[in-house]
């Protein structure tokens, strides 16, 4: 493997690791549940993307033909990351998790109208 390729791969892997790390760091640095959701969902897509491009280039240059099934992982990540974030945010709203800003009236009103106190059958 020539030196230019190795440098390229190293840069990609380090960039990827850095972004994934910053995304996770967001969990510790940000101050409420809802803003914390932003770190891992957005900060890591580029990180994982870089790592996968590096993997794709590495295995493609090993002589076994092209290796592009990494694209699928990126594709699935783009689909699943927003969905899990959406569900987490939704359940947090449902449980009225504390937030730095007031929770939206709409969500609270909806919760009150839907959520009647438990009544026993007898």
């Amino acid at each position: 493997m020539n030196i230019a390729l190795e440098i390229l791969l190293s840069v990609l892997i380090i960039t990827g690791a850095l972004f994934t790390f910053i995304g996770s760091l967001g969990l510790a640095r940000l101050r409420d549940f809802y803003t914390r959701l932003h770190g891992p969902t957005k900060g890591t897509t580029l990180g994982v993307g870089c790592l996968l491009i590096a993997s794709s280039i590495f295995f493609s240059t090993q002589g076994d033909g092209f290796s592009i099934h990494e694209i699928l992982i990126t594709f699935f990540l783009f689909i699943t990351a927003p969905i899990s974030a959406h569900l987490l945010a939704k359940s947090a709203l449902h449980l009225k998790v504390d937030s730095l800003v007031p929770l939206p009236d709409e969500a609270i009103a909806r919760k009150n109208s839907q959520h009647k106190p438990y009544q026993s059958l007898d």
Partner: protein
């Protein structure tokens, strides 16, 4: 034709995914991919009651390009905000009114808003007229709503609903 091949677009996408999974373009794999691409939508027809139609493929291409650019930009913005001063962030819940009709376009909008700078979809209103979003750092609510509507909703409306 309609009964035998319910979702031509889905067939092609599934075949491509199959080829990518196998990392090969051997004729045998292409045949198998197309076969699966035909069989899966055929048997899962009940889950896809409405026909998915792309009206403007070029707009879709342009939209994907904008989206890719925004995702990369979002990564840098979020990274900077995390490394910067988290105390100075101005998070907010924002109700974004939407006027999309198809479920597919709506879910794509919710999905994309989550990958782009500073927003996260949290709740779809029961009447499907608005999405509640959480923004990480927002200066002007109207500008935020305007961006979502013109940058993402408008092209989606053109592509899937016309």
């Amino acid at each position: 034709m309609q009964r035998l091949l319910p979702h031509p677009l889905l067939t092609i996408i599934l075949a491509i995914i199959w080829l990518l999974l196998n990392n090969s373009i051997a004729p045998g794999q292409i045949t198998l991919g197309l076969l699966l691409g035909w069989a899966i939508p055929f048997f899962a027809l009940q889950f896809w009651p409405t026909k998915l139609k792309v009206h403007k493929p070029l707009t879709l291409l342009k939209f994907s390009y904008i989206l890719l650019y925004d995702i990369i930009e979002a990564n840098f913005i979020v990274a900077l905000r995390i490394l910067g001063k988290p105390e100075k962030l101005r998070p907010a819940f924002i109700v974004v009114p939407i006027d999309l009709n198809s479920d597919f376009a709506m879910s794509i909008l919710a999905n994309t808003s989550c990958l782009t700078p500073g927003s996260l979809s949290a709740l779809l209103a029961p009447d499907r007229k608005s999405i509640l979003m959480h923004a990480m750092d927002v200066e002007d609510v109207d500008v935020f709503i305007h961006t979502i509507k013109t940058r993402y909703e408008q092209p989606l409306k053109e592509i899937f609903e016309e």
